[in-house]
């Protein structure tokens, strides 16, 4: 199949043409992109001019507006190029505002997208949708939300990843030096299950007065906390704390690291039925999720840590918190029935952002 230069398009974009196919087959598109080093290894939707224009129309604005500049390639993430990647990922146009909001947020300094993209450690940008827009747009906040089967979750997360790969230049072994990667680098998008939460919506707990919002956080894959027997907060959260207190996680070494706690609805109900608030959960985990100073000398990132001076002042028997403040435990509810929760360790030297989601 011959690929040719396809003549002039908008300035700054490469337009290609397939001159011997009027309706390219999925196989042909797949092989073409693979040969060019594009894509995530899965079949793609061809980003024709028509499809890209349809995507752009779903979030009106200047198509050449630069939403962010993404490292390490320093690619300019214009609305148009983001639309190209949204089409590639198989997104519906009504999801485009979520993607543009996320890409704009990726340019925020506090996320340290450059470090997260280039690091040897595994991480991916978790995208959480908060508010009534989550249900209205068809995102999954219930059973299997971290897994396959929902088009919104799967394609929106995938679009963000494709932008980071193509525009940001973080391809395995090149711009990204992640030693092993992780499955959530294919797609990592969920919705908060506000209906099942005994507390206020996560974005409101962060001080954001908006109907809808998204959160972006660079984290590891979810680590399961399986507790089928506890009938009180102490039991449930002791199980969670045991998953948090891990020598080999970056949050143990970064000092100021966030730790995301995604409580399953049944665990959340057990905790709240005892009168515990979200702040109680945070405080308990801060006190409980600890490792001894002596354990921390053994491996992990010992010697490379970002601890403040006071953490070095203790003997080996002292139990140290894996993060420095209760508020760094970011807690919200998601998932379906069943006695499971998830711990998502942050990459460490990154701070999540929660921003309003404005829909046209």
């Amino acid at each position: 199949m011959a690929v040719t230069e396809a003549g002039a398009g908008p300035a700054g974009y490469e337009l290609l043409g397939l001159d011997d196919l009027t309706d390219p087959s999925p196989d042909a598109i797949f092989e073409l992109f693979e040969a060019r080093g594009w894509g995530d290894g899965l079949p793609l939707v061809l980003p024709t001019e028509q499809r890209v224009e349809r995507m752009l129309a779903a979030d009106p604005g200047d198509a050449e507006e630069a939403l962010s500049v993404l490292p390490p390639r320093n690619g300019i993430a214009t609305r148009r190029i983001v639309a190209v990647n949204a089409v590639l990922a198989g997104c519906r146009p009504e999801h485009f505002p979520v993607i543009t909001t996320a890409v704009r947020a990726l340019g925020r300094d506090e996320l340290d997208t450059k470090g997260c993209q280039a690091t040897t450690g595994p991480n991916a940008p978790l995208l959480v949708v908060h508010g009534p827009a989550a249900d209205a747009l068809g995102f999954n906040s219930g059973h299997g939300l971290f897994g396959p089967g929902n088009r919104a979750n799967a394609t929106v997360g995938r679009a963000v990843r494709l932008v980071l790969m193509h525009v940001g230049g973080a391809r395995a072994g090149h711009g990204s030096k992640s030693t092993q990667g992780q499955p959530s680098q294919y797609t990592f998008c969920i919705a908060e299950n506000a209906a099942a939460s005994p507390w206020e919506a996560y974005h409101r707990s962060r001080g954001l007065d908006a109907e809808n919002a998204i959160t972006i956080a660079f984290t590891e894959n979810p680590h399961n906390s399986n507790d089928h027997t506890s009938e009180d907060p102490v039991g449930v959260l002791t199980s969670v704390a045991s998953v948090v207190a891990t020598l080999g996680c970056n949050h143990t070494w970064a000092g100021q690291s966030e730790v995301f706690i995604v409580l399953g609805p049944e665990h959340a109900a057990t905790i709240a039925s005892a009168g515990w608030s979200r702040a109680d959960v945070q405080s308990y985990l801060y006190e409980k999720a600890r490792l001894s100073r002596g354990t921390m000398r053994v491996g992990g990132c010992s010697g490379m840590d970002s601890w403040p001076p006071w953490m070095f002042a203790f003997d080996d028997e002292q139990m140290l918190p894996v993060t420095q403040h209760p508020d760094l435990y970011r807690v919200f509810v998601a998932g379906g029935a069943g006695k499971h929760s998830a711990v998502l360790p942050s990459w460490g030297v990154t701070t999540s952002v929660t921003v309003p989601l404005d829909l046209p």
Partner: protein, 93 residues
Amino acid sequence: MVRFYAPDGAVDKIALELTPIRNRGPELRIAVLDNRKDNAFLLLSETAAGVAKHFGAGPAILTDKGNASVPAPESLVAGLARDIDLVLTGSAD
């Protein structure tokens, strides 16, 4: 013909003006900024020693930025820019 977009787009290019090395020869002032990645200090300090020997310069000043994953403190960078002609470092995260 079916036309479609390449997915990567343009790159934001930042023009850099390289600072000329002020002193060459024995007056060359060299520093190592260890990024704290494994083996970085070994590689950088050995390279610095080789450069110093080539120019007949004095030994390198050894500094580090504490952690591979965060930017070096601005005060450290400012001091190197003021006092050093050639800094060897690694990009890390």
